[in-house]
């Protein structure tokens, strides 16, 4: 009896639309993954992943949306392209990981909070200055991550080599304003999109906040 209960639970966890959603957003055919494991074999991040990359692909095939979108692996992928380069079925695996990260953000998952904070801080710096202001990014990240002293030792070698700019090198013309406008439009469109999505599925979205 218990066996049939468990299999019913597994079936209930499946979201048959999930694979189609990932395929539409990534442009990749997930069904052509035959689990050879070549992506995992070449992935240097496997020791840090909770699911090796071929299993992430399998989670998508099985329609296990929650497991796929809440896993750490999708945040620890550096998009180094080893998996994409080596997939015998020409699946852009790194792009699938990227799309899962997008979906995880929209669903409010961020198990590697500092990875998300770093990306958000980086883009905030770009939105503000038109270019990344490295010292400003490091300072903002140090505070937001709760690890203020981690890279304190890098300050002196950077300072003595003239690599620590205390002021941002901003674009000389209208670029800064144009980039700020790109981010503003992105924020507006993302908010519209999440309102539209919330209309039928009531999913929480923090994408708008992230882009600010």
């Amino acid at each position: 009896m218990q066996t049939s209960v468990r299999s019913l639970d597994l079936a209930a966890a499946r979201d048959p639309a999930f694979q189609a959603d990932v395929e539409r957003e990534s442009g990749q055919t997930l069904a052509s993954c035959y689990q050879c494991g070549n992506c995992t074999a070449g992935c240097v991040y496997t020791p840090d992943y909770d699911f090796p990359v071929h299993q992430v692909m399998r989670l998508v095939q099985l329609g296990l949306r929650e497991q796929a979108l809440s896993c750490r692996s999708i945040w620890l992928c550096a998009t180094c392209q080893a998996c994409t380069t080596r997939c015998p079925n020409n699946i852009d695996v790194a792009k699938v990981m990227d799309v899962l990260r997008h979906m995880a953000r929209r669903a409010g998952h961020a198990p590697e909070a500092n990875v998300k904070t770093f990306a958000d801080s980086f883009l905030s710096s770009v939105a503000k200055h038109g270019r990344v202001f490295e010292a400003g990014l490091a300072a903002v990240f140090a505070i937001k991550s709760g690890k203020p002293m981690q890279d304190a030792g890098l300050g002196l070698p950077m300072l003595t080599r003239g690599k620590l700019a205390f002021l941002p090198h901003e674009p000389e013309g209208n670029g800064k304003a144009e980039v700020a406008a790109i981010f503003a439009r992105f924020g507006r469109f993302a908010a519209d999109k999440s309102r539209a999505e919330a209309g039928d599925s009531a999913k929480p979205s923090d994408t708008t906040e992230d882009s600010k």
């Binding site: 991040y45 380069t85 500092n114 770009v126 990344v132 690599k163 013309g173 790109i182 469109f189």
Partner: protein, 337 residues
């Protein structure tokens, strides 16, 4: 001097954010080498951030718009060919360019975030027409294909004879191959050929394209340290005097974060590493006889001088014992400092 196959070019130049700060020496040495080899660089006016990795991890259209703005800036001054020293910028610019090009051929069919829909969405963020033709190419590719290694070798006045170098390409310079369309994605050789033209001895380095930990230095230092330690460890076991790089992020992890990497290595019973990590343009500049100040050698955290001196002394001792150098370094392993 003229190139081996084509006249040296004039290209739009996209420095990228790192090259105004932590990788200032990459920018400086790139400009110096290009000038010496007759490649004229015209800065993309009013350039802005390409979006790099963080943008594409958040949204592909946002990433496309941030990159496309710079391609557009290049087109506005009449350039379709943009060169950048940074592989991450290269990936961002090429991805946007190729997806926009796919939009010009809707009959081929395209997924939601490429093709005509991609162009329309990017233009919605840009609020002006997206670029039509501009594409990006790495500085390394320009030097190898537009100048050519023969012309480069002919211009070398101070060959790096006896210097044993591990050529470290990093993840993105050649990958994914469908996007980059340059060199071999598993065993690239362009950097090897440049360094050989400089007179250096290129060691057989199995980790040419292994990831160094990328941008995880801040958010997951432990992950980055493990991966960068592997790269230095492999270079040491291959007998390299130095790891030569083409990426500002690789360089930061392997050089600026060396104290952290060595502490990590020592915590696991290792001894740490003393080998420098110059940009390939710094070594090329030295071989071309350019002044050190033009190459920003003083900006490296692990100094280049001692390793160059040691290699010179070793080469002198070798030639005095075994006759003239034949250009191929000895195969025995050097001690890991």
């Amino acid at each position: 001097m003229s190139g081996s196959s084509t006249t040296p070019a004039t290209l739009a130049y996209y420095p990228g954010c790192s090259q105004t700060g932590t990788a200032a020496e990459y920018d400086r040495s790139t400009r110096a080498c290009c000038q010496a080899l007759g490649v004229r660089l015209v800065d993309v006016p009013d350039w802005t951030c390409c979006g790099s990795t963080p943008a594409h991890t958040v949204d592909h259209i946002l990433a496309g718009a941030l990159a496309a703005r710079n391609l557009l800036q290049a087109e506005l001054i009449g350039h379709d060919r943009v060169t950048t020293p940074c592989p991450s910028c290269l990936a961002a610019l090429r991805t946007a360019s190729h997806h926009l090009a796919a939009g010009a051929h809707p009959e081929n069919g395209a997924p939601e975030d490429t093709g005509p829909s991609y162009r329309a969405q990017v233009e919605r963020l840009l609020d002006r027409p997206a670029p039509l033709r501009a594409d990006a190419v790495s500085v390394l590719q320009v030097l190898v294909e537009d100048v050519g290694t023969e012309a480069m070798a002919a211009a070398v006045t101070k060959p790096l004879t006896g210097l044993r170098v591990a050529p470290y390409y990093g993840c993105l310079l050649n990958r994914p191959p469908g996007l980059m369309q340059f060199d071999d994605p598993e065993n690239p050789t362009a950097l090897d050929r440049v360094l050989t033209a400089c007179g250096a001895t290129v060691v057989d380095f199995p980790f040419k394209t292994e990831c160094c930990g990328a941008a995880f230095g801040m958010p997951r230092l432990d992950v980055m340290l493990r991966l960068s330690e592997r790269i230095l460890g492999m270079a040491a076991s291959c007998g390299a005097d130095m790891v030569v790089v083409a990426c500002p992020l690789c360089q930061m992890n392997l050089d600026l974060r060396r104290g952290q990497v060595n502490a990590f290595a020592q915590g696991r019973g290792g001894t740490g590493y003393a080998m420098p990590v110059p940009y390939f343009t710094q070594l090329l500049g030295l071989a071309l006889g350019l002044p050190e100040a033009a190459l920003g050698l003083d900006k490296l955290v692990v100094p280049l001088g001692p390793a160059l001196e040691a290699a010179r002394a070793r080469e002198a001792a070798r030639t005095s014992q075994a006759g003239p150098a034949n250009g191929n370094g000895p195969k025995e392993k050097a001690p890991c400092a």
